[in-house]
Structure formats: C-alpha cells, structure tokens
C-alpha cells in the first residue's frame, strides 16, 4: 500500500503543529511537491490532502470526518469576507472555518 512506501523526508513545519501562511499566493515545497492551503483553491477546484496541521483535537475531528492524507476533496463554495469554505469529501459536505481550513494542505489537481 502507498501508506507504507511513503518516505519520511523532512517536514518539520507540519510536525511542530501550527503552520501559518502569509497572504495569498504563498507556496512552499512540501514532500508532495507543490502543496498549498486548501483556502487557496477556488470553487470547483479539486485537490488531494497532503496533511492537516494544527491543534490535535481539530486534526482528530477532521480525520474522523474523513479528511485523512491522500483523500480527494473538492471545493464547493467559499463564503465571502474570509468566511468558511464548503468542501465535498467522501460523499459528504462539510463547512470548515477559514482559520482551520488554512491548516489543511492540499496538492492541487487540475480542474
């Protein structure tokens, strides 16, 4: 399975928990290549989850709701004024607050 083959290159930023992203367009190299916060995707875009950072309670709940690494997600909607985003994952729809969503890192897929 893919899970076991994956190499553990350095990904210190996410291991330490919180990662903050300054503004739009900020990208950095992660172990998957181009990885961006899910909030940078637009409605209709699709992505694959690279990792979820942040408070362990939050990451646990997100994992329970199906946001585990390598999961496909698609963006349905983003609310205005920096509001939450609506995503589709594993057949369900979730609304996720912006501050949490910023810590969900995805690999963007072509639409």
């Amino acid at each position: 399975m893919w899970l076991r083959k994956r190499k553990t290159t350095n990904s210190s930023s996410h291991e330490q928990g919180r990662v903050r992203f300054a503004g739009k367009g900020h990208r950095f190299r992660h172990r998957y290549g181009n990885v961006i916060p899910i909030t940078e995707l637009k409605p209709g875009d699709k992505g694959i989850i690279a990792s979820v950072c942040g408070n362990s309670k939050v990451t646990q709940r997100l994992a329970d709701l199906g946001l585990t690494p390598k999961t496909r997600v698609s963006i349905i909607k983003t609310a205005p004024f920096n509001g939450p985003i609506e995503i589709a994952v594993r057949g369900s729809r979730l609304a996720i607050g912006r501050e949490i969503a910023e810590n969900i890192l995805v690999q963007a897929k072509g639409t």
Binding site: K57, P80, R90, G91, G97
Partner: protein
C-alpha cells in the same frame, strides 16, 4: 405518529416494569436515529435537519411480540475518540451498560463516512445490527447499495429503513430480537490494519489480556492506546502503567514509519477500509442535471443572494407571525370580551379573573403567536436551512468569539430559551458554550415576542415592534463581544456537516409543532390560572400596594412607568408573557391603551425583553454552568435592563408624541 405505528405497536410503560431487552441506537450525527427512536417508542424526541440535536441520550420503550424493549437514543457521533463529551458518553454507555443490541443507524447517502464509525463499533465487540437509513433519499440521489453484500463484508445483519416513514422498522426490531436472543448469530469481521500496526496491537493485546479488569475488549483498548486516547490511557494507567509506556513507544515508532501522528495513521487506514467496502457495495449513477433542491442550495449559500434570502426568510417569518397573530388574537379576545359578567362578588371576581382570565389570556396570547412560530421554526429546522445560515454567518459570529454554529441556538432561542441554552452543547468548548448561552438569554423567545406584540405591535405600531427586535439584535451583538473579551478559555473554529436540503416532511412538521405547542400549553395554562388567581386575590386583599410602593423608585421614577409594573415584572420572572396577561386580569380588559401610553408600552416591552431570563431558563443555566454563573448572568441582566430602560425612556421622551 399514526403512519409509523401500524408496523410497530407501542405504548407507554410504567416505570417499574422491567425491560426484557435493551436496544441502543448509535451512529453519526443527523442520520435519523431520533426519527427511528420516535417511530419505535411513539415519543417525540426532537428531530430536525441539523447535526447535534440529541445532546443527551433519550430513553423510551415499546412492546413488541410480547417483549418489553427499552430503546436508548444516543447522541450522534463520528468516532469513538474522546473529542467530545458525547463521544465519551456513548462509548461508555455501550461498553459498560452493555445493551443487548446496538442498532447502528447508517445514512445510506454517506455510506463511507458512516462505515468509519461502524468499523469502530465492531472493534468494541458488541452485537450490532445496521439500519441502512434514508434509503429512499439515496436512491433519489442515484446511489444503489447491495445490502446483502454489505452484510457479508461486515458480518452484521443489514436492514434498509426509512426512519421518518417507519419503513423497515418492523424488520429491524425483529432482527434485533433474534440477535439478542442468540437466535441469529453475528460474526463480526475484524478490521485489518497495516502490518506494523497489527504487530503492535497484537503485542499490546497479550499484555492487556493478563489484566482482566478493563471495560473494553483488549483489541479495542490496544488500538485506543496507540491512538493516544486520554480516557483509555487513564484507565490502563490505574491497572498497569507499564503498558501505557509501551504503547506510547509503539505509537512513536508508527509515527516514524509513516511521518504522521499514529492516530491519523489509524484513522487513515480505517477510512481506507471503509472506502474499499463502500466501493464494493454501492453503485452511483451519475446524476442528470441539477435538481431543484441543488438550485435552492446554490442560492442559499450564495455570496450575495444567500444573505438576501436569509434576511427575507427571517423578515417574513416575523412579519407572518406579527400580522397573523395580531389578527387571530383580536378575533379571540373580541369573542371572549362579550362574555364578561358585569357585577361580581369578591369570591366570584377572584375566580372569574383568575381562572377564566388566565384561560382566555392563554388562548388569546399563546395560540396565535406560539403556534405559527413553532410551525415555521420546525419547517426551517427540518429543511436543513439552519446550517446554511451558520455557514453564511460564521464570520459575523467570529466577532463575538464564536463561530457559525452558534447561530443555531440563537435562532432556536426565538422559540424558547430553555432548549436553546441546552443546544449550546453543539459548541465544542466550555467557553464557547457559555458565551453562546449568555447571548441566547438576550434572544426574545416567543414569550417575550408576545409581550412585544401584545403591547407594542397591537397598541403602538408594527414598526416599533420591529425596532425593538432590531435594538435587541444590536444588544446581542455587543454583549457577545463583551463576553468574548471577558470570558477566558479556549475556542475552536467551525467544523460542521452540511446536511442535504430537503422538502420538510409534512408529518414531522405537524408532529413536532404539536409536541412543542402542547408542552408549552401544558406548562403555561396552570401558571396563568394559578398566577392569575393569586394576583387577583392579592389585588382584592390590598397586598399589591406595598410591593408597588417598594419598587416605585425604579418603576416610576427611573423607568417612567406605572406603579403596577413592579408587580408585573415580578410575575414576569415566571413567564414573561404574564407581563401582558396580568394587566388584563387586574383591570378586566384586554385593551391596554387604557392603562399605558405608547411610550410606556415600548419601555415596558423593552425592559421585559432584557431583564432576567425566566425561571425555567435560570434552571437550565444552573444545570449547565452552575449556580454562580447562572446568578451572575441573572443579576447582570436585571441591572442592565433597568439601566438601559431608564435611558431608553428618557430618549423616547425627546421625539415621542403620544397619540392621545
């Protein structure tokens, strides 16, 4: 519940009768557990289309083929981690109380996510049966599930059901009894994780099997230890601290292999299994074009139109109630006004004013407003619109240190503050719950809306009634902001499932509205009648003057109202609408213009809207947050209402020209 019942006969059981069987309903939030529960027991557990309605387990019972069966409705959860109290409570209930059968209610529309929970339930090693619910909706969405195959994969019987219509519930109970009686065997399959996890689970299991005193199965405990579950760690620590240490080491090793925390690795693998099963058993046809529901959904959360729609919905709800309620109320009070006898003795007067007056007041005030309000609120709730509002207002709620979900208790608060404070449990942290509950106590419930309508809309004008509601919204916002700054503690952002929008089921709406109105009428009628009788007696005996005199500095000097208001506000702590009901009893007329001038009515309605939450809300606050917090909130709100009321009165004098 008539269409539900032919299939499952049920009746209320006396408390002492012992149950032959206990069935617990468990599953994700918003999959229809409560609908199945209601169908089984004939009770009216709150159902609606938003996740988190059931915050505490509900119990009921049914008679079925000679068995007396206790049914437990557990709150909806996504996992058995100890993320929330509900998850812990449900897990402990299932493991420790050991119900005879656990009915895992599964939403057929979101099979994969639901199976994630089913897998964990199977790890608990309890007898399970799956109710594959909302199968009709799934079909409409083009999802076909092979339940036979699903049953084979899991080793668990699967019964397709439609909870709100009662379809499949009979077979469900039949199967559950068979399992409980050992007539049909459940051969739970074991979930198989990756090798590196299984090896370590196996080693931990061996260690754990020597310690017999755990309430969960060794495999479950081993997995939870690796996931770093605090509660399980504590329990094992008490028995054997070494095992916890070993588990922590193992978890670290797994983390190193995968580069993810061990709990995420286990969740991932569990989801991979759920995904594989879901793929095998379900076929999804790509749906044609957008259905009209999708179009409404598109509109409901639209950047601009969504907000307009929200305002339009809220405005029309209030407008409908204001105009319809006023109209109906006038008809009823005109009708009863003709009956009042002219000359009465003292005893007769007490009886007439108290009993008949109380009854008429209940009829004229409660039914015209409470009934339409609950009808509309139930429709909104059942349609799944509330989570959309939460989505739109997340940002606004952040200004109060809350997140979007908090709008749900606030909207429910317009119905009644008591269940609204209760529903604050959908917030994740204690601090968020407290802020939300504090804010909710400022929301004008139907009782207060009746006061606003009964005083202001009926006798001043409807614009002022709306103005009061608007002022209240501003107060709610400011208070929320202050509480946000003042109350310490952690906060969490919003993670909320958006249920599908649906056309509200007529039956659910009727049954729910009726259950709510009935409970209010049952509670209110005696209070009105007893309160009315006490007030009438006190009035005749001359006890009211001393109370009035004592409160004059506040009521007359500061608020600019009549002395009688002191008594009214005291009675109003029991039920706020007594403030408008009581003058009718004391003065024998429902035309309040003879007692108050318009400015006084507005101030009185305003003070009533803000001061103390009623006794029932106080009791709920006490239960949720303790004596101290409940008292602080109450004292603050009394002082705040009086303070603002006085200022309001003075500012009204500047531009208010009384009409007569």
């Amino acid at each position: 519940m008539s269409s539900c019942h032919p299939s499952v006969p049920s009746e209320k059981r006396t408390a002492k009768e012992k149950a032959d069987l206990i069935i617990a309903l468990a599953g994700n939030a918003n999959v229809g557990k409560s609908a199945i529960f209601n169908c089984l027991t004939g009770l009216h557990q709150h159902v609606g289309n938003w996740p988190g309605k059931t915050v505490e387990r509900a119990e009921g019972s049914l008679h079925f083929k000679g068995y007396t069966i206790d049914v437990i409705d557990l709150p909806g959860i996504y996992s058995f981690s100890t993320f929330s109290l509900e998850e812990l409570v449900s897990r402990e209930y299932i493991a420790i109380e050991k119900p005879d059968v656990v009915v895992n209610v599964v939403d057929a529309c979101v099979l994969e996510r639901n199976l994630f929970f089913t897998l964990q339930l199977m790890e608990l090693q309890v007898p399970i049966i799956i109710a594959l619910n909302q199968i009709d909706l799934a079909r409409a969405k083009g999802i076909k599930i092979d339940e036979k195959k699903l049953s084979d994969f899991l080793g668990v019987p699967v019964v397709p059901t439609v909870g709100i219509k009662g379809i499949g519930v009979y077979e469900l109970v039949e199967q559950a009894i068979k399992i409980a009686k050992g007539e049909s065997e459940v051969k739970l399959r074991e979930t198989q994780y990756g090798k590196e996890i299984e090896e370590r689970v196996e080693k931990l299991k061996v260690l754990l099997e020597d310690e017999a005193e755990l309430s969960y199965s060794p495999r479950f405990v081993a997995l939870k230890l690796l996931e770093g579950d605090e509660e399980i760690k504590k329990e094992v620590q008490n028995v054997n601290g070494k095992i916890v240490k070993t588990a922590e080491e193992y978890a670290k090793e797994i983390e190193q292999i995968h580069g993810e925390p061990c709990s995420v690795v286990i969740s991932s693998e569990r989801y991979a299994i759920a995904n594989r099963i879901a793929k095998e058993v379900q076929k999804t046809e790509v749906l044609r074009k957008m259905s009209y529901v999708d179009k409404i959904d598109e509109l409901a959360t639209h950047k601009i139109l969504g907000y307009l729609l929200m305002l339009a919905v809220m405005f029309s709800v209030f407008y409908a109630i204001f105009s319809f309620g006023g109209f109906l109320s006038r008809i009823i009070s005109d009708f009863f006004g003709n009956f009042r006898p002219q000359a009465l003795g003292v005893g007769e007067a007490i009886l007439w004013e108290g009993v008949v007056g109380g009854f008429v007041a209940a009829l004229t005030l409660v039914l015209p407003y409470v009934l339409p309000f609950y009808l509309l609120l139930t429709i909104l709730e059942d349609s799944g619109y509330l989570p959309r509002v939460a989505f739109l207002l997340d940002n606004l709620m952040h200004k109060m240190g809350l997140h979007g979900k908090a709008i749900i208790p606030i909207i429910l608060g317009y119905g009644c503050n008591v269940p609204a404070c209760y529903s604050c449990r959908i917030m994740e942290t204690q601090r968020d719950r407290l802020i939300a509950a504090f804010v909710v106590t400022f929301v004008p419930c139907t009782a207060r809306i009746i006061v606003i309508l009964g005083l202001v809309a009926s006798f001043v004008n409807i614009q002022w009634a709306f103005a009061l509601l608007l002022i209240d919204l501003i107060i709610i916002f400011i208070m929320g902001r202050i509480a946000f700054k003042a109350i310490p503690g952690e906060s969490m952002g919003m993670i909320m499932e958006l249920p599908s929008l649906r056309l509200p089921s007529k039956r659910v709406v009727v049954v729910q509205t009726w259950a709510r109105v009935k409970s209010i009428v049952y509670m209110v009628l005696p209070i009105y009648i007893i309160g009315g009788t006490i007030l009438a007696s006190m009035h005749i005996a001359g006890f009211l003057q001393p109370i009035e005199a004592l409160l004059t500095p506040i009521t007359v000097n500061w608020l600019g109202l009549k002395p009688i208001v002191g008594v009214l506000l005291l009675f109003g702590t029991v039920r706020k609408e007594l403030v408008v009901v009581m003058p009718a009893i004391l003065f024998g007329t429902t035309d309040l213009t003879t007692i108050f001038n318009p400015a006084q009515m507005i101030v009185l309605a305003f003070v009533t809207m803000i001061y103390v939450p009623c006794v029932a809300t106080f009791a709920m606050l006490k239960r949720e947050f303790g004596w101290k917090t409940a008292s602080y909130i109450t004292i603050f709100e009394i002082a705040f209402a009086i303070f603002l009321g006085g200022i309001f009165f003075r500012s009204l004098q500047y531009f208010w020209q009384p009409r007569g």
